[in-house]
Symmetry: C2
Subunit: 189 residues, 2 copies
């Protein structure tokens, strides 16, 4: 794999700080200190603090969009598509725990990219809801409000970043299948 550029290193470290305190509470001096350099030096690699946030959030949002498009175009049934969505969230969240925090909590601080981000998010949710509605129509899924189902599943998946780093072992395959069981078939006997 390619060596990490200085810019990528800055963005990675920034995401970690953003997760701990949020975008607004992290200063360029904080970030520089964490990198072991002076704040002014950061500007040789990035244009602005905003640019860092844009990069973190948009690249992740696009990864989710791409994953969803792949799942949609598959010929699986709806329950299997849901399982694939769960796997997608587990995979992307575990690969980029810090970025997921910004995606969830700091998207409102995007500037030029805000509209674009919001479109990606709405499209993603529309695709998700479509899968649930198909499942209801085909009889695979219970006929209760798809909005509430989507909200329930998606907020769990979107919060994975909070919780994944706390688990030592972290067998991702196992986590995906446990989550699938809980989210799809429930917890009662």
């Amino acid at each position: 794999m390619k060596k990490e550029t200085r810019r990528e290193e800055i963005i990675r470290v920034a995401a970690k700080l953003f997760k701990e305190k949020g975008f607004s509470a992290v200063t360029m001096r904080d970030l520089a200190a964490e990198m072991g350099i002076k704040a002014a030096s950061l500007y040789n690699h990035i244009n602005s603090k905003q640019d860092i946030l844009n990069d973190i959030i948009i690249s992740l949002a696009e990864a989710f969009t791409e994953g969803m498009k792949l799942i949609q175009s598959s010929n699986k049934n709806c329950i299997d598509k849901l399982k694939q969505i769960i796997e997608l969230h587990v995979k992307l969240s575990s690969q980029n725990v810090y970025g997921m925090a910004s995606l969830n909590n700091d998207w409102m601080h995007l500037d030029e990219k805000l509209k674009y981000y919001q479109k990606l998010r709405i499209d993603y949710e529309d695709d998700f809801r479509s899968i649930l509605k198909e499942g209801i129509a085909s009889g695979e899924i219970i006929n209760v409000k798809p909005d509430v189902m989507m909200f329930s599943i998606l907020t769990t998946l979107r919060s994975l970043y909070i919780w994944i780093p706390k688990k030592e072992e972290l067998n991702l395959k196992e986590l995906s299948s446990t989550l699938s069981q809980i989210l799809i078939t429930g917890i009662n006997k």
Copy 2:
């Protein structure tokens, strides 16, 4: 009901702004403007910006703790206790949508109250987990990792504030029971 004091009004308006932009991104000048006064005037009613956050978060966290203690001391079975927890979250979240945002996203900006908040949260999660473990022992609940179950249910409940204000009708009883169905018995047929 008692008339809202100026201090309570400030805290209510602050919580609304904190939900939109986060604690760190809201300035005392923003808050004053929203109140129709000057920033200096705020300090006749509150001691500091920190104080506002403390008030918002701690009062909510204590309400959750109180609710959990009541549920625990009841003689219901575990599934019914879970349903009561869901009702508790729906109730408190709908009563204080803005405060829930701070509770979820800005708790790390607490100062003196941080330790106390963290204790309340950990105790709450311990109580929640105990209920799940009892349910597993009694055969009411499937025998999969209680941590993953708790995470899944609790993150959904903690995110209700994002979603509740978007629903026009908002029949709280109905929302609680739909959520109970989805979270407890799953979504598959």
